[in-house]
């Protein structure tokens, strides 16, 4: 199959045939099954946060950061849901992965699951675009093979959500059987869901599930693993990135104008050979004429006689 041609179709937002998606997904699984739970990546590399189906902003991301033809990338997950182009965004990343296997690492986010995509848009999108859920199922199969983290030059740990009290060393992540739907509890769940916060120790979220971790946990993890930074995504940041705990942890967010209405900017983080950090900020693709167009919806107010 002609990956470059498919990539070009996806970049134009063209319909991708169900058979093609099937083949892509199968090939991707074969490739991903051989990858470790935590992949090792060399510098220089560009770390990208949540994408959430904003294909046109993903294209901007590649434009602004050199492109996969020229540089390495780590995506921290949450490729799908919320935006209108979850499929295209995910397929583009898969194609790049197949085309340039060692230049792109895909880490699983909490949205790369059957349960979440059913509620938050990806499933709807597939039903709308294909009239059946086959393509959604093929993609969910791939989700189960995505890795759980990455380590850059043994010095920077990348994950979607955060730390887990069940995980003291990065090596322990390698023991997880990742090829499954993300469970509602356990280390795998924590890595994809937990959030940093100003807490003294591991704390239960007031929602009754999920952990919050603080500076102590981050410092411990950095020390035990002899690393200097944790990069994660998962939480919206108006400025695109936010460093916490004296620079020991950073949140990177790469979906500008999230949900087409938040007005935030996006960022990617480039790690240079000397491990220095370079943030690139970018804006959302503008709707044309200020009224939206076929690709970029605007949340134009819809007048109605509400009661």
């Amino acid at each position: 199959m002609d990956l470059d041609k498919i990539i070009s179709l996806i970049r134009q937002g063209k319909h991708i045939h169900e058979e093609t998606v099937y083949t892509l997904c199968l090939n991707a699984q074969e490739l991903l099954i051989n990858e470790a739970n935590v992949s090792k990546v060399d510098t220089p590399v560009t770390i990208c946060g949540d994408i959430h189906g904003q294909l046109h902003d993903l294209l901007t991301l590649f434009d602004k950061s050199g492109g996969v033809e020229n540089s390495r990338y780590i995506f921290l997950g949450d490729f799908v849901d919320r935006g209108f182009y979850s499929l295209e965004s995910f397929l583009l990343l898969l194609c790049y992965k197949l085309r340039y296997p060692d230049r792109i690492s895909l880490i699983r986010g909490n949205h790369e699951t059957r349960q979440i995509t059913k509620v938050y848009g990806f499933y709807d999108e597939i039903m709308r675009k294909y009239g059946n859920s086959n393509v959604w199922r093929y993609c969910c199969e791939v989700f189960d093979y995505l890795s759980l983290g990455a380590v850059i030059d043994n010095k920077i740990f990348c994950v979607h959500g955060g730390l887990s009290p069940d995980i003291n060393t990065i090596d322990e992540i390698r023991d997880i059987d990742r090829k499954q739907e993300v469970p509602h509890e356990g280390a795998m769940c924590d890595l994809l869901w937990s959030d940093p916060d100003e807490v003294m120790t591991w704390s239960l979220s007031p929602r009754g599930a999920g952990f919050l971790f603080g500076k102590n946990e981050v410092d411990n993890f950095l020390y035990k693993n002899d690393i200097e930074l944790i990069t994660r995504a998962h939480q919206l940041v108006m400025e695109g990135y936010k460093e916490m705990f004296d620079g020991g942890l950073v949140t990177v967010w790469s979906a500008p104008n999230y949900c087409y209405r938040c007005g935030n900017v996006a960022a990617v983080l480039r790690i240079e050979d000397d491990l220095s950090r370079n943030y690139t900020i970018f804006d959302a693709v503008q709707a044309q004429n200020g009224v939206g167009n076929a690709i970029i919806p605007t949340k134009k107010v819809q007048m109605d006689y509400f009661l």
């Binding site: 039903m127 059946n132 093929y138 929602r207 009754g208 599930a209 007005g263 134009k300 107010v301 007048m303």
Partner: protein, 385 residues
């Protein structure tokens, strides 16, 4: 392994099932329509029908804003074709006066701020929209203005709708900060559906690995930071009154009062319309908590609806509506407060009786939820100037 089986299955499950297609279409209509850009706005009168249109377009950039709409009529003037409202903001899109409705067009990019307004008789209505709070603002809210609350993910903290009686200098405003100030700083008692399962697994894990494998102890499974994570707010708006005025204007509680649905059901031309979110949180993908505010202003009256909508998946549904009704000529303002609540499963079961397609789509539609949930509280207040 199960995955391999499913892989093998992928091909055999191809082909389009018509029932699935139909349900997909229905679901699509229900859930996705709202997210798709509106292709057409309510039709403006054509230019031929309304010669003022051309004048307006020509004058817009050059004239003093206050003289753009100088045809301000007395309140007693017959209101058939005449216009009696005033649009002061030069950034207003063309208004009904000039051939189309004022629908502030939000541009989601900084540093734009929409701040349109309209005046009818003694009443001035204005709205304000900006992007979500930035880090500096967030820090201020977190450490000072809303100390103790873990803030919702999206705070449109500079959005507001303001209704002002100019003569009495009395103002009723719906703003994000005051709405969030009413979120309780205590445990709501509500837990996500899988909370028990999650906690049990952690506890088992902790006892099993008592040999320091796991970092957690009992205290880590207690909630340290107590606040209502559902962000439930019974906000009814913020009243501000100029202290110069010796008379204090207060709402009088009277639950007998009803909103004049007949008058509101008429298709009177909407002169001013706006719709905005004040805050929203996805509850870490366990549902949604959103406070939305919208307003429509007609020639003789206005209606504002502030709706708090909460859905905790597989747990509960809650809607809190505050409606503000103003009758301009009579200078009457009515505030109605309604609260709906039910178990998620109960609301869902009502849906199954009447529809066959994806019932969960309906649970994302607050209008459907309101129509299918029991009314728990209703209060009404009235104020006459």
């Amino acid at each position: 392994m199960a995955n391999n089986e499913e892989n093998r299955d992928i091909r055999s499950r191809q082909g389009i099932n018509t029932i699935i297609v139909n349900s997909a279409r229905n679901m699509h209509m229900k859930t996705v329509n709202a997210r798709i850009p509106q292709k057409s706005t309510p039709q403006p009168l054509s230019q031929q029908q309304n010669p003022q249109w051309n004048n307006f377009m020509v004058n817009r950039g050059t004239q003093n804003t206050s003289t753009i709409h100088q045809r301000f009529k007395s309140p007693l003037a017959p209101r058939t074709q005449s216009t009696r409202h005033v649009c002061n903001n030069p950034n207003n899109p063309p208004c009904a006066h000039c051939g189309t409705t004022i629908i502030p067009s939000p541009k989601a990019f900084m540093p734009l701020e929409d701040n349109p307004e309209i005046i009818i008789n003694n009443w001035k209505i204005s709205t304000k929209k900006k992007p979500i709070l930035n880090s500096v603002e967030l820090e201020d809210w977190e450490n000072n203005k809303l100390k103790g609350l873990a803030l919702p993910e999206m705070i449109f903290g500079n959005n507001a709708i303001t209704i002002q009686n100019i003569e009495k200098d009395w103002t009723l405003q719906f703003n994000t900060l005051d709405a969030l100030k009413m979120v309780k700083l205590e445990d709501s008692g509500i837990r996500v559906s899988y909370s028990n399962k999650w906690l049990d697994a952690k506890k088992n894990n902790a006892t099993k690995n008592s040999n320091q494998k796991s970092d957690i102890d009992e205290s880590s499974l207690k909630i340290v930071h107590n606040y209502d994570w559902t962000y439930t707010t019974e906000y009814k708006g913020t009243i501000k009154q100029n202290s110069k005025d010796s008379v204090e204007y207060n709402f009088q509680r009277d639950d007998e009062v009803q909103l004049p649905i007949d008058k509101l059901s008429r298709s009177d031309k909407i002169l001013f319309f706006d719709d905005m979110i004040l805050f929203e949180d996805e509850l870490a993908d366990n549902g949604i908590s959103v406070l939305n505010c919208k307003i429509r202003v007609m020639d003789e009256r206005l209606l504002l609806l502030s709706r708090f909508f909460l859905r905790v998946d597989d747990v509960l549904i809650r809607v809190i509506d505050t409606r503000i009704y103003v009758e301009f000529d009579e200078n009457i303002i009515i505030r109605e407060f309604k609260k709906y609540e039910d178990q998620y499963s109960s609301v869902l079961s009502r849906h199954r009786l009447s529809h066959s397609y994806d019932p969960k789509a309906a649970l994302r539609d607050s209008n459907w939820v309101v129509a299918n949930s029991p009314l728990v509280t209703r209060e009404c207040e009235i104020l006459k100037f």
